[in-house]
Amino acid sequence: MTVEPETTLAPPFAPLQLRIPEPAARPGEAPRFADVALSPAGAVRRPEVDCPENDLLDLAYSLVRVLDDDHQAVGPWAGRLTSDQLVVGINDMLRQRAFDAKMLRAQRQGKTSFYMQALGEEAVACAHARALRPGDMNFPTYRQQGLLIASDYPMVELMNQIFSNSHDPMKGRQLPVMYSSKAHGFFTISGNLGTQFIQAVGWAMASALSGDTKIASGWIGDGATAESDFHAAMVFASTYQAPVILNIVNNQWAISTFQGFARGSSATFAARGHGFGIPAIRVDGNDYLAVSAVSSWAAERARRNLGPTLIEWVTYRAGAHSSSDDPSAYRPKDEVAGWPLGDPVDRLSQHLIATGVWTDDDHTAAVANAAAVVDTAYAAAEANGVLGDGHSTSPSTMFDDVYATTPALLKHQRQQAGY
């Protein structure tokens, strides 16, 4: 017996069509960010850290902002940092920016093979780092150098790594910017996107299993949220209520692909948390005060055993994806000018000036100071060698650390290689 399907729709049907997402603007068009949902500074509430997840749903669609158009800190997320802390913050960001500029130039000059800056995104990592405690562990991507800079990791070590020189802590094994420092709460960066997100959850689970008090903070880019390990992280964090902060850095672009490809038809990346009962919050990533306040809120949730928090940091990748990339091929050249959340360094500096903490001259001096710090480190690092000048670690180290103890067959290969 054949029965017609129960439907109000009868054949013939209109042909289906596939939606291929397109960004709001392409080269030659005017920048357009009308689709980026904004909230006025101070408008978003600050719930208690133990607020149930289903009373927080709105936070995934709004945008936590502290600094208003008059450069004042307003609303319930404001007033949580001292002036000293803010000055530390801007100096962190300035150091990062000077560092990035210098290393990009070094790459252009052939001193290394590759570089990735985080221009325009400095507030996210710098403010977050200062909201964690010693012993906490970040699982970063290649765009969180700010975590190390704001943790006072020696800048010369960053450069040694980038130059793959004789003092490279990674012994020349890793592509530039693939740092690692357990002592500074910075997990070894992987070239494979997404893998670290579930590892962060595992680390946090281990801390909780051990009755420890340390928390983990996992990082991922907007594009990489499409990777499978994002899901693994969400499932495990949700199931075991791991003490972890899950950070999505939405800088609008994944190489040439705009964030709409990974986000799909959901309104925001933060909304991903809703399917897992994970408190989710969307934040102005170019607002140092907002980043700091929300990072602390999430850290406190984790530390109080209240489980994971998903944070979407809304920011903009002002530079190229990497030294191998030229964004003028796929986005308007002046797109950054249209970015509605401004520049994190400018905004914090204006706030410091508006509140009388410092002056234009202080700012100029801080910029100069940051450059000087970078130059000093650079001179020291360069003295240890740059890529290709012969001042690398001994090639024999290439065979170390594959295992704790080098097996006989590999030793034999080392000998064959002449070492």
């Binding site: 420092s181 893998t195 595992g202 801390s207 693994a232 499932v235 495990f236 295992y403 006989a408 067959l409």
Partner: protein, 338 residues
């Protein structure tokens, strides 16, 4: 000393490790309350509590990825993949992460994790409960790949794996869980209790990796094998009357080159046997090494006896499985060659 099946020996190894070291945690699909679909972790949750042995969501990538994070924290996770056939979703975490953590961080972070999984065929499991993926791990620098063939070795090797500072792929031939199996599927099942290697010492002992076991000394021909195929080789030796030296590699990486080379130098003839598909199987590596080391001592070409280059079928399991007849024929041919 007690008589144990391979399952019991594996369970015992877990227990010993968990007692000695608080940082050993055990998890995987159905391994907690239930104790694993093959019962290899039965009783652990009850004995050690649900913070030491627990269930996991069905995400192999999540299980291994979380284990890597835990290892980085300082624990020693032992995870179970329900069947080796289901390890592929975790392959990225194993290959790109676990295997390279120590190297890429110059020792700053390590992955002291054990990844257990039932391997091999012989249980009418069809193409997704029968695979032998060892060669997909032996190609990856940074991993160790181990495969026991009996209760005694299983316990000692598993304790070594758990205590190893690096990631270990621990393949458990599921057809051997309850007894040695020589490929004569039409004969009555033999339990472990009849086999001397079911005598398992109490408490702690380890078997170092990289040491093959000679199950049967012989002078005429060397059979290099591991897992279930060890018993197939022993049967083939007996049935052909060839005085074969049957070597159980036990660990593929690191490899006991010395025992292998000494034997083949002595016999001048060699057959390599494994269940995995022939092409690019681990047998290829053994042949490549041996011809390079011992070309002039070889009196006959080395023959590989392996699974055919097809997915593992259901109905025709015994045509697919390289049983004693197929192996015996290859041994005879090798004796006659040259």
């Amino acid at each position: 000393m007690a008589t144990m099946t391979m399952i019991e020996a594996i369970r015992d190894a877990h227990r010993v490790a968990m007692e000695r070291d608080d940082t050993v945690v055990v998890f995987g699909q159905d391994v907690g309350y239930f104790g694993g679909v093959f019962r290899c972790t039965a009783g652990l949750q009850k004995e050690f509590g649900d913070h030491r042995c627990f269930d996991a969501p069905i995400s192999e990538a999540g299980i291994v990825g979380a284990a890597i994070g835990m290892g980085a924290y300082g624990l020693r996770p032992v995870v179970e993949i329900q069947f080796a056939d289901y390890v592929y979703p975790a392959y990225d975490q194993i290959v790109s992460e676990a295997a390279r953590l120590r190297y890429r961080s110059a020792g700053d972070f390590t992955a002291p994790i054990t990844i257990r999984m039932p391997t091999g065929g012989g249980i009418f499991g069809g193409q997704t409960h029968s695979q032998s993926p060892e060669a997909l791990f032996t190609h990856v620098a940074g991993l160790k790949t181990v495969i026991p063939s009996n209760p005694y070795d299983a316990k000692g090797l598993l304790l070594s794996a758990i205590e190893d500072p690096d990631p270990v792929i621990f393949l458990e031939p599921k057809r051997l869980y309850n007894g040695p199996f020589d490929g004569h599927h039409d004969r009555p099942i033999v339990p472990w209790s009849k086999h001397p290697l079911s005598n398992v010492p109490d408490g702690h002992y380890t078997i170092p990796f990289g040491q093959a076991r000679i199950h049967r000394p012989g002078s005429e021909l060397t059979v290099l094998t591991y897992g279930t195929m060890v018993y197939v080789a022993l049967a083939a030796a007996q049935e052909t009357g060839i005085d074969a030296e049957v070597i159980d590699l036990r660990s593929l990486v690191p490899l006991d080159l010395e025992t292998i080379s000494t034997s083949v130098a002595k016999t001048g003839r060699c057959v390599v046997a494994h269940e995995a598909t022939l092409t690019s199987g681990f047998g290829a590596e053994l042949c490549a090494i041996l011809q390079q080391e011992l070309l002039y001592s070889l009196e006959a070409p080395i023959i590989r006896v392996a699974g055919w280059d097809t997915p593992y079928p259901h109905a025709h399991e015994w045509v697919y499985f390289p049983g004693p007849e197929r192996l015996g024929a290859a041994m005879r041919a090798t004796m006659e060659a040259g």
